[in-house]
């Protein structure tokens, strides 16, 4: 028997953080969006132990300011794509700039400098990844996905999918289905 599980990434990560912080007896406050405030001064030894504990989960401590802001941009985009796309009435550039309190051009330049890719490109990749996830896990049509993700039409989503991955959404679905058959 096979079942699919749906993750709430934010909750999973917050739970892991809380668990590890409590294990190390660190007084803290979790501020959401991957931000943790320490309510005590952390010794180097403790900080290292914390970083090591988190690395098991693929979680990384980010310390320098630029990378922190880039991580916030990524988190905001992921949250935007996965949870709020249909509700956001403004352009994503305006949304990012208002949410993070910096001008969009500043955010865009910083993002490209650190990640070698543009914010626009990152948003497209996230949307396409979410589309793949929905195609696999839910009984939902591409038209419904296009609407959910705020595309003007299903053709627009379909074209962007093909341009990003080199294959069509239906080929993707076919490949994933065949893979499952071969592995079962």
């Amino acid at each position: 028997m096979k079942l699919f599980v749906k993750f709430n990434f934010n909750m999973v990560c917050a739970t892991v953080l809380k668990h590890e912080l409590e294990k190390l007896n660190i007084k803290h406050r979790i501020l959401g969006f991957g931000e943790v405030e320490f309510l005590e001064t952390l010794s180097d030894v403790k900080q290292e132990a914390f970083a090591l504990a988190l690395s098991k989960y693929g979680i990384e401590l980010v310390a320098d300011d630029k990378r922190i802001l880039v991580q916030k941009i990524k988190d905001t985009i992921v949250d935007m794509v996965y949870n709020k796309e249909a509700d956001i009435q403004v352009k994503s550039s305006v949304y990012l700039s208002e949410t993070l309190g910096h001008s969009y051009s500043y955010l865009a330049n910083l993002f490209s400098e650190v990640t070698y890719t543009s914010i626009e490109n990152f948003i497209i990749i996230q949307k396409i990844e979410y589309t793949k996830h929905l195609i696999i896990t839910q009984d939902i049509t591409l038209t419904e996905i296009a609407f959910k993700l705020g595309y003007s039409s299903v053709a627009h989503l379909s074209t962007q999918f093909k341009n990003t991955t080199g294959i069509t959404p239906s080929a993707f679905q076919r490949i994933v289905t065949k893979r499952k058959e071969e592995n079962s």
Binding site: E60, Y116, I125, E129, K132, I136, I175, R179, E182
Partner: protein
């Protein structure tokens, strides 16, 4: 954890193709370390060594003597030791069915070998960047399918 270098391996029996490939990466200056193997047997011998450094990205030519790219792909997919390797098929040309078949068998990327050097550089840089995004942005590698 973050790593500084992307480790890349190419298995291809064509000497010119191997040379093109390493030259392209030399010129790209993308913090990559590239090794090449002359066929599938040499590749699998290396990968199966206990202390082998696992590549992040593995490029497989399909038509190789002794052991083909598809045979390597099957062996790699059957061993969980290799589950973190992104596999790119690097081939001259193939039918639509053959391409889809490599994806079904577990390849992540299918690249038709570009004819000119400039194009090759662009394609390879695209692959490394996209792979890096999968490694650093928590994307699900099972859904990593890319055709170039």
């Amino acid at each position: 954890m973050t790593h500084n270098y992307t480790h890349i391996i190419l298995a291809d029996d064509d000497e010119d193709d191997r040379l093109f490939f390493t030259d392209a990466f030399d010129e790209l200056k993308m913090q990559t370390k590239v090794s090449t193997f002359n066929d599938g047997v040499y590749l699998m011998e290396y990968l199966n060594q206990q202390d082998a450094i696992m590549p992040h990205l593995l490029f497989l030519d399909l038509n190789m003597p002794r052991k083909s790219g598809i045979e390597c792909l099957k062996e790699i997919k059957a061993n969980s030791k290799f589950k973190n390797i992104t596999i790119a098929i690097y081939s001259t040309s193939a039918s639509e069915e053959d391409i889809e078949d490599t994806f079904v068998k577990g390849a992540n990327i299918y690249i038709k070998k570009p004819s000119d050097f400039k194009k090759l550089k662009k394609v390879l840089s695209n692959v490394v960047t996209r792979n890096w995004q999968y490694e650093t942005s928590g994307l699900n590698r099972d859904n990593f399918l890319l055709r170039l």
